[in-house]
Amino acid sequence: MPVISVEIKFLPGVEDPEALTIHKNLRLLGYSGIKSIKTSKTYTFDIEVGNSDPKAMVKEISEKLLANPVIQSYTIRE
């Protein structure tokens, strides 16, 4: 049973308000020495046996639905 995961993250240079806010608040809470924070989202696909090319399918799903190519990139991991 192949398990494939896709990580969706912002393209370099795109504002990541959530990470910036966390970073700022960690500083206020006294955590020092954190250079930067980035957020990302991971989807894990548990794929049925017999699917001939699950990786290609997940790639298609990522492009079609999960990632917004204008602001996000995706990385597929098996």
């Binding site: 240079g13 795109v14 504002e15 990541d16 308000p17 910036l20 190519p69 204008v70 602001i71």
Partner: protein
Amino acid sequence: MKMAVNKGGETAAQKVGLIGADVKQLEQICTDMSLGLSTEEMSMLQNYFSNLGRNPTDVEMQAMAQAWSEHCCYKSSKFYLKKYFSGLEKHDAMLAMEDDAGVVSFDDDYAYVVKMESHNHPSALEPYGGAATGVGGILRDILCMGAQPVGLLDSIYFGEVWNYSLKGKGLHPRFVLNNVVGGIRDYGNRVGIPNIAGSVEFDKCFNNSPLVNAGCIGIVRKDKISRSLISKIGDLLLLVGGRTGRDGIHGVNFASAILTEASEEKKSVVQLGNPIIKEPLIHAVLEANEAGLIDGMKDLGGGGLSSSVGEICLAGGVTAVVQLDHVLLKEEGMKPWEIWVSESQERMLLAISPENLENISKIFNGWDIEFSVIGEVVAGTSLVLMYDEEKVLDLDLNFLTSGPVYCRNYELPKKEMLEYVIPPEDVNLKQFLLNFLTDPSNCTRENILRQYDHTVRGDTVIRPLTGMPNGETHSDASVIKPLENSKKGLAITAGSRYDMVAIDPMSGTFGTMTEAYLNVLVTGARPNSVVDCLNMGNPEEPKIMGQLIQILQSMSEFCKKLELPVVAGNVSLYNQYSGINIKPVPNIMMVGVMDDVSKAISSDFKGPGNHIFVIGRESSSLGGSQYLKFRNITSTTLPWFDMDELKLISEKYVEAYGKELILSAHDVSSGGLIQALLEMSYGFNRGFDVDLTDISDARTFEKIFSEGGERIVVEVRPEKREEFIKAFDGVAVTEIGKTTSGEIRLEDRNLIFLEGNVMEFKDPWLHGLDNYI
């Protein structure tokens, strides 16, 4: 505060080989650097630098390209804007078409600040981020005048959300709709400024060119108005707020180009907003302004630092030396030209005296807002940019910022005689209405409006939805009470009759202006300023230039007649996708001032047994109406709009408002008289029993659906009837019936056309957008 990134020994800026290049090479340079300039403009630059005897740096070329883009210098529209608007009186306006936003006198001590801007191109590519940053940008325009923003508004235009068989790579209108609304909602609600007015429209022509026009209104004490100009030599330039990154590079060049399928690849133009920085930024800037520490202020929008520094200095007759390596960056390794033209959000440029730096630091540190000193104001005419010790830009400020002016060829539309085919009136009116009311163009906007916060700050008197809680109807204009110790209010509206403008730009624009005027007037406010946001197709086509000229001419004529100043505006051209131009959309924002908000008139019928009147003459033409559009019938002429009658009505109406003669009022516009009556009914589920016989001799369907003229439907208490009729002496006023406790009945010449109750019509109206959002 400094974050110097020097790449030991390497020069920061590259020279561009302009001198001696042939036309083909010039075009190549233009493409390689994504400048978006025409070949003629490249030649102009070549000549300029040949005369200087040196090649430009890449920073200089990028700065020129940005300053000369349509978005920044209005090269296609500047000539005509000046021609039609420069002769207008200012009336109550203190600053009209001068600074980032218009400033209009509100009372003895306070002024209100207004502006509306398009964010169409970014929203076409990344609807959520594009719409959110549209809201963010317009807030900064108000803020940089030193004003506290008190209300946001949005006019948004989408394609066929209902169409499942759209071809092509473009984003589906439904996706665009949901994400644009999401962007406006998330930014507006988080930044804590109420969303109070606007419009939502659907048409085929917006399928791949959605329009997002964001507006804002703010309030400022007259002695605290901050100008978008600096004239004090020795002042420091401060960049405050968000950091500068690679997001939004070339945004304006892109906004001045036509969208094609290949545009999807242009990724670097998209910015995402960050309202969590904006909120404290607003507080910090207003606190510094209140303390009198700021000499001049400008927001960084399209065009980034390049535009802001250039314009703020040019306006004050000074120039500046800017140290680019002092700009705080989001990421390392940015090139000087990228820093200079970046359109990252949430940034403001402040000019302050050096002795105030310490106090400014305290305020901004207190709000946890980053800033850095990036330069100094100097005398002279040349703008100089430094990166470490290297001079990367040295240009005459006037040449850089003014930009070329074009008088493009134009062609006025031909008048055709054919009006419209009168459709057979073979339909049952009730059955027709039940379908008509579910159409996205005619149904409620509740699904969208409910996502916005209308009342945060606690100033909203009339919200976009009015009536009983959870069962409200639409308002015409919203009313806010911006000052704690004054009963005076502001009425605000925005929208466009673009279907009419497409048929005839001249009278269609009269229609648009009339509707905006009536929307403000019906609340009891006296309209006193206009902001225009013109959205058009490709100006290189003579037909489009013709539309632009007629729209401006018509606005100018209307404003002269009704004594209104045009205080701010925005022109968005090149709204074209793969050869299809949008219909011309002059989106008009109008603001009125009301003496006492406790007398404000809302649009919902208040109770049974009251008299219903129509103020204004009927214009019996279905041209440009929703009725014909719904039945797929094209018309080539429009009903008339009579500005003299409008002026007269306006005087009498404001008096009647003062005497509290009117219980509720709604203007007749989209959907005609029947839509007006029904919308008034929905608020408290009160019905109407009306007889159209006395309105005119026109056909019944024309009386029901005509959208012309300047008509207001009003509800008057029986005991005020005589006084009301007397108050409107000299104006055409027709009594058409009475309100009921829920039944609806409509007859004309003893024939009954409609019978039912409010809920029968309200239900389809409420659910028209349910499948799309």
